[in-house]
Symmetry: C2
């Protein structure tokens, strides 16, 4: 793959940062990480086959031009180079400053080595040693202590539990990974940041076999100090990096990662992520596997989307996709129409001379929500002029005529220009195997436009794949990764605009939160919080029991027990609905007090909520919670048990705009009835959007933060008639 | 891959067929198809690069030992061989009988060539020519005419629109497919039947590149005569075939395919299918692409499952999976428990020395509903004896200790023997790339058991993949195809027992159907059909209007208009519920007659149905329809609009047993409440199962067949209290 270098004369994304001290510190850090003048290998083994003996061998094998200083207190020489008893000795002996130390000693000895780095003015240590946060509570404590030593010593850390890093262009493989046994490393524009160490080798070996070249590869390990976000930020400024691949287990530094991803977008460097944790099994694994606290995977997806990080579903897509997005920038998406059935995820033209191979791509695109476009009228005409007649099906099958000079090229020209086609997939048949140059020639000659163009080669055809890779054209080995990449490219949107202030003054919200006697608010206090946010709540008042003065109540009403310890009030018998008059109200109060006293005798009862009965077209759930990975999120779901069974919710990171809220409403399948499915009356979706924005504003609350909040149900009335919350809960910090 | 040959001394699956005339006719057909003594190439081109010139070149290139007779009226010689003006001349000149003709002439000339085949006693013609059923109405007529000529001439056809067929073991490549340009063909145990011609080359080239050998490859084209089922039946008896891959666009010969698949299962030859049409886009394509009438894809899936055809989701799985199932036969599945949440789809042990690569497989297995098993206690103990301590997470990570002698082998031994583990996945890390023999050695040495064992190799490691393929061990290039294959292997079950007679005497059903004045039955007549099948229906009687004698009615009741032309009675205002007394009933009759007269003035009204009001825990939908591909199917869905939005239904081909019905009930997510989700009262699932079986018995009806029937809703009451149909429709043939 060629390395499109960003234009150095282009204005910087952040002009204020240009010649500042911060920028210079970043440049120094990048230099020490990726282009050290001298590296110390602390704990280097004399056995070149051992893991700890490999880095020295790899540095020599790939021709590193800097100084390499093995540190090994037991030997004067390691693998033919003079060895030093400690870092101080190494630093003293080196005429060039040691910019980077690779630390490969047992966990207990690591803090001391890092302290030595500080003393010897080594600015960066990459810690291969394991036994830290990935190894239980003791390990976590050890990692914290290590971080403190590093901070005190002024040393930046990669790891611990890192496989190291590689700068391909500078022939600097500072890693134990066996993939570096490869005879040569192919330089190119792809950089990789991985939380899983061995994946560095997985992707390097697979990419190289396909002729894909790399710039930088970094295994961030446990991310005690430098995490994915900060490394990404450095790569945005790396002239060799054209796109960054992320292999993620969890999000540990959300704000930094968000900011770096936005800078990368502005700089025209796509960021593409594969993340573990789609399934519960995978999530559990990410926790045990590298000491991560896993945020919900859906929250991570929402976070990626918000900050223009492209998420792919398949391993090979990560490698095959970049040319589809490098050099392109998606236009802002128009607001999705709030229609009953979800809109198409993209109109894709599939051009081929081979029916079966192309049908696999079309089928998979369809499963992922995209629609194949029939040949545009202009294309049909132009081909007719060339004496070619094509069908009108979802596949643009040029048949054998596609091999005649000019036909394929004409088809591509028309499709690249066609306004009603968002992307193109060319499917190459058997010619790809035995006549690679011929097979891909019209594709190589196609003009570069902003429209994504992907190629799937049906037979085994390594040479065709390599030719396309060399030309910077996205070529796919399987129909599945091809469709995954096209989906991801079409879903890619510029970073969302994140509101920087709440929609309304939050002092009333903060007062309502502060007034609560404990962290769990009862439903009446929760309603006060939601009302202060601007969410309409059912009119209610609190009575203490059946003997209160009940005058002035408009019937029918509902009564609900009030207790911070009774969250599921219906199941405790704490709710009676549709009470027609005062006598029935007194009976109901008596009954629920008795039932709650029996079923939850220890729950403190703060009163009985008497609430106006409300009706709507449908019930929805609006939630707020703090994800340990990506921070506060707002959740929208259809109400009822079937929505729960189908996990039919949408999540967005907070705070959100009205446009975000509308996107959420469009994305929940079970809200189709409110969007007019089967001619049903449309709900007040503007009011629902406003309620979502209001709840997301909880992220701005000053003082004791809200941990969790939920309006459930929120009744949505017909268009123009608003929404009304009839129950909810709020939990704040102590 | 080695070719496990079936034991010729094993008893035949169908002993009656052994030395019969039928078996001998089948053997003759197979010989003519796959091992012809002489082949005629009708329409052979003298230009070896042209499609029609290729077969002759390929036959010579791969060393076909039979006679090859080009037929070309314009030349005395073609590609160095004597050419003949027609088949008669060729047959006269050939000392060996011509067993097979490949027909490559324009569509209009094909029937004549096939007639000549008959005259020259050529028993089989493979028709490459296109312009038949795939080319619109004219083409369909042409194909029908061709078929009639073939039948009259006693000639069996492959195609038209076929890419031909290949017998690798006999060096007989009778095909125009460019993949045959390959220097050599690798013989092995995989056979392929494909409805999409070019896919023959796609799979041949990809398989060969991975060291996978093939036996027979057949492109069946439009299947005018020989279709997938009959070819599969021949391959069951083929000693070279160990497993059969199907590439399907549609099911054209369901009964034959079902029977052949059952014979293949009995013979220990797994049948693995990849089918287009998962998405609406793909379905549309299958129609236009090769002239198929597409059955619903879900019906095809149900058909495959019923007859033990394994369905895979990804192209590469088709090639990579066979060793996972060759030589294994799944045990009958225990009845699924009717529990709220769906049971696990399998417990899979993932063993590795490389965390990240394995985590990708675990995550994907989880998304597909399988659960990773933690290391069994015996394994933990045994490894402890070897001085290895492993964690208890979902990944069995042997870490570097796994490379010590004996450790990996011990782990595999224990897992192969562990009763609470259904399958094993070994994930190989970087050693697979540079030390392939070492990396796969313990896996090659593992004992062969009935437990599926799959291997995913994380880095690029062609040699490791080939070593495993040679040893008949399933090796996967991507985590996604690995998980897809493990899912498919664990879902594989013996063919279902299909009831051969209805549960009850159907004469009352047939009488009720015959009594209807037209093909569309009104709701009262439909109820009579369902009642005769044994489905409890709400008590009802028919009145003509408000002035009828209404005595003897037990209230409350519902009234519903009766008209075969008003299918959606609620939307036409033709339904009133909860009528408390006779006065209200008379009003309701008047009202609905007026409304229907206004909204559907031309609909003939046969009366008003007065029906007892019924209640249940939930509503379900039970449907019956004839799928154009796989025949009659029964459908179960949760009731209500959300179930419709989530397409939450299960389909089974008819007729079904009570066990099938229970599996259907277990498989519908939205029925979780009836299965006790969140402590809700359990529904009468036995009664529901009985209703499903009853409706599926419509497949047995003699006389005018039922095209379509639906009970909607069927109310399901609490366990023991039964079910009751409150509305339904039946459409029969004229």
């Amino acid at each position: 793959m060629t390395t499109p270098r960003p234009d150095p004369t282009a204005p910087s994304a952040d002009p204020a940062a240009a010649p500042s001290a911060m920028a210079s510190a970043k440049a120094d850090l990048a230099r020490a990480l990726f282009a050290p003048r001298a590296v110390a290998l602390v704990g280097a083994s004399a056995d070149p086959a051992k893991n700890t003996g490999r880095p020295q061998r790899f540095l020599r094998h790939h021709g590193f031009r800097g100084r390499v200083l093995p540190v090994n207190p037991g030997r004067a020489e390691v693998q033919g180079a003079p060895a030093y008893k400690d870092l101080a000795a190494a630093a003293a002996a080196s005429e060039t400053p040691i910019d980077h130390a690779l630390v490969m000693v047992p966990a207990a000895a690591v803090p001391d080595v890092v302290a030595q780095c500080g003393a010897a003015r080594v600015p960066v240590a990459t810690v291969y040693s394991d036994g830290f946060a990935e190894a239980g509570a003791d390990g976590r404590a050890r990692q914290q202590a290590l971080l403190e030593v590093a901070r005190a010593a002024g040393v930046r850390l990669i790891g611990p539990n890192s496989m190291g890093l590689v700068n391909v262009h500078a022939a600097m493989p500072l890693s134990v990974n066996a993939a570096l046994e490869a005879p040569a490393l192919v330089p190119g524009g792809l950089s990789l940041i991985t939380q899983s160490g061995t994946v560095l080798g997985t992707l390097l070996s697979r990419g190289q076999a396909r002729g894909m070249g790399f710039a930088k590869l970094v295994s961030v390990g446990n991310e005690a100090d430098l995490a994915v976000g900060e490394v990404l930020d450095l790569l945005v400024d790396d002239p060799e990096t054209a796109a960054v691949l992320l292999f993620m287990e969890t999000v540990r530094d959300a704000p930094r990662l968000a900011a770096a991803a936005r800078r990368a977008f502005a700089a025209g460097k796509p960021v593409i992520a594969y993340k573990l944790g789609r399934s519960a099994a995978g999530s559990a694994l990410a926790v045990s596997h590298s000491g991560a606290i896993v945020g919900a995977d859906a929250a991570a997806s929402a976070f990626f989307r918000r900050h223009a990080i492209i998420r792919v579903e398949m391993l090979e897509t990560l490698l095959e996709m970049p040319p589809l997005v490098i050099g392109r920038k998606p236009a802002p998406k128009a607001a999705p129409p709030l229609q009953a059935t979800p809109p198409s995820k993209g109109r894709v033209a599939v051009v081929t001379t081979t029916g079966g191979g192309a049908a696999m791509v079309v089928d998979r695109l369809g499963t992922l929500g995209m629609e194949p476009v029939p040949p545009p009228a202009r294309l049909v005409e132009r081909l007719a002029e060339l004496g070619v007649r094509i069908g009108h099906g979802p596949l643009i099958d040029l048949t054998m005529a596609g091999t005649r000079p000019g036909v394929y090229g004409a088809a591509l020209d028309e499709l690249l220009a066609a306004p009603d086609c968002d992307a193109i997939v060319c499917v190459v048949g058997s010619s790809g195997q035995f006549h690679p140059e011929l097979a891909v020639e019209p594709i190589l000659k196609a003009p570069k436009t902003d429209k994504p163009l992907a190629v799937f080669i049906a037979p085994q055809a390594d040479r065709s794949l390599a030719l396309l890779a060399e030309a910077g054209i996205a070529a796919f080995r399987t129909p599945e990764s091809c469709a995954d990449a096209v989906r991801a490219a079409l879903a890619w949107a510029p970073p969302a605009e994140v509101p920087d202030r709440p929609r309304c003054d939050l002092s009333a919200v903060e007062a309502a939160l502060a007034a609560a006697p404990g962290p769990v608010l009862d439903a009446e206090r929760a309603a006060a919080v939601f009302a202060a946010l601007g969410v309409p709540c059912a009119a209610s008042r609190v009575v203490s029991g059946p003997d209160d003065d009940l005058s002035g109540i408009a019937y029918p009403v509902a009564v609900k027990i009030l207790s911070p310890e009774v969250a599921h009030r219906t199941e405790t018998g704490g709710v009676v609905l549709n009470i027609p008059d005062e006598a029935a109200l007194r009976d109901a109060c008596r009954a629920i007090l008795a039932r709650v006293a029996e079923k939850a005798p220890s729950a403190p009862v703060s009163g009985i909520q008497v609430q106006a009965m409300e009706r709507g077209l449908a019930e929805v759930l609006v939630g707020f919670r703090r994800d340990p990975g990506v921070g506060p999120v707002v959740v929208l779901g259809a109400g009822g048990i079937l929505a729960e069974i189908h996990r039919d919710v949408n999540i967005c990171t907070c705070p959100i705009s009205a446009a975000d809220a509308r996107e959420m409403i469009a994305a929940v399948a079970g809200l189709a009835p409110l969007r007019g499915y089967r001619g049903l009356p449309v709900g007040d979706l503007e009011a629902l959007a406003a309620a979502l924005v209001a709840v997301s504003d909880l992220a701005f609350v000053d003082g004791p933060a809200v941990r969790e909040a939920e309006v459930n149900p929120l009744l949505v009335r017909a268009a123009g008639a608003g929404v009304v919350a009839v129950d909810g809960l709020v939990v704040r910090d102590e």
